[in-house]
Symmetry: C2
Subunit: 216 residues, 2 copies
């Protein structure tokens, strides 16, 4: 990689730009300016240009960016020009909710397998996705060539499963368990935690709204 070193915030904004570019694309819009992208993502035009300039010069001065080209570039940067094969570990409420989540395939993530420890839940399909017993975790992850795992298990078992998943050659984990995972540094990990976000809202509200109106 010869790119400078990209911050998390930049990556998040790239996702937002990509969303907009896809929407513009279906509306057959050809060109878009940094200012327009900025308005749709809650940031500034300068920020958009700075973000993109980390990876090259994709625009035309005086014109803006060609929607289809920029979409392709950002897809390449984010690594979503390929389709990712994803598995969900834990077929409880959150797990099964994800299995039917339309947005994921539309954005390049195909859920192809689910796992659960409870025999009552395994051996059938949910939203067209087979649910396997967790004993088969390693074999199926490899057989199905899973790149990313979404962990939606109780916190108590999340740690152990994360290790097994990492050892099975999976490249990334998205965890819904608030608990810290002790994983190999070789695997990328991110967290999503509803309660943590609610606490953040609670803080904003409680600290008198003088703090600021929200998150971009």
């Amino acid at each position: 990689m010869n790119v400078p070193k990209i911050s998390d915030s930049t990556v998040r904004r790239l996702s937002l730009y990509l969303n907009q570019l896809r929407a513009l694309s279906t509306r057959d819009v050809r060109l878009v300016s940094s200012r327009e992208l900025a308005e749709g993502s809650g940031t500034t035009a300068a920020q958009v240009r700075k973000d993109l300039s980390n990876f090259g010069s994709f625009g035309k001065r005086g014109q803006g960016y060609r929607v289809d080209e920029l979409r392709g570039r950002i897809e390449g940067i984010l690594g979503v020009e390929r389709r990712w094969r994803v598995a969900v570990v834990g077929a409880g409420r959150i797990g099964t909710a994800l299995l039917g989540y339309r947005d994921l395939p539309a954005r390049g993530f195909e859920i192809v397998a689910a796992f659960d420890a409870d025999p009552a839940r395994t051996g059938r399909e949910v939203s067209g996705v087979p649910v396997y017993p967790v004993d088969e975790l390693e074999t199926r992850l490899r057989a199905d060539d899973i790149g990313i795992v979404i962990l939606a298990t109780p916190p108590s078992v999340a740690g152990e499963l994360a290790e097994r998943v990492a050892a099975a050659g999976v490249e990334g984990i998205l965890s819904f368990a608030a608990s810290k995972l002790e994983t190999d540094a070789s695997i990328a990990v991110r967290w999503m935690d509803v309660a943590l976000e609610l606490e953040g809202l609670s803080f904003l509200i409680t600290s008198g709204d003088s703090q600021n109106g929200g998150t971009a």
Copy 2:
């Protein structure tokens, strides 16, 4: 507010500290050092102390922090010493998954109502939470004294509902719709987007892992 101006990252870390303090509390641990809190949250001891110093001096030199006291202080800072009354708008897969999510009441957020536009889903209880028709949104939000709404609807209707919710006097929105919401500046808003997090993972993986191992 006489506090300096608190960054989003600080607030997120406070939530992580709070989680640990609660765990320590149930294990009857009395004292904890900034170093221990840091290890459990993937940050540094200096960062923990800096975060806390925004709000006062809660520790004892040479000893560390009294677990119960610090827990109370952070609960106060985040505004979760009170219990929040929360409603879920959209009783689809994600919405109903949240209704049964044990972690929320345990962390101070009580889901007391849900809404849906589909009559097939309304008029019954899911996980003990009544599901109302969306026509009753404003009346019930006020009657039930809802402070925070979780939006779990299709993106197409999220914007309109956000406005209605804001107009009904709700103080915060947590949105699962990726689309930008045009709301009154008076209401606090945060987003959660699974696909966006997956794109972030995809970027980390694709950019050769040289980028960094994950997110703290």
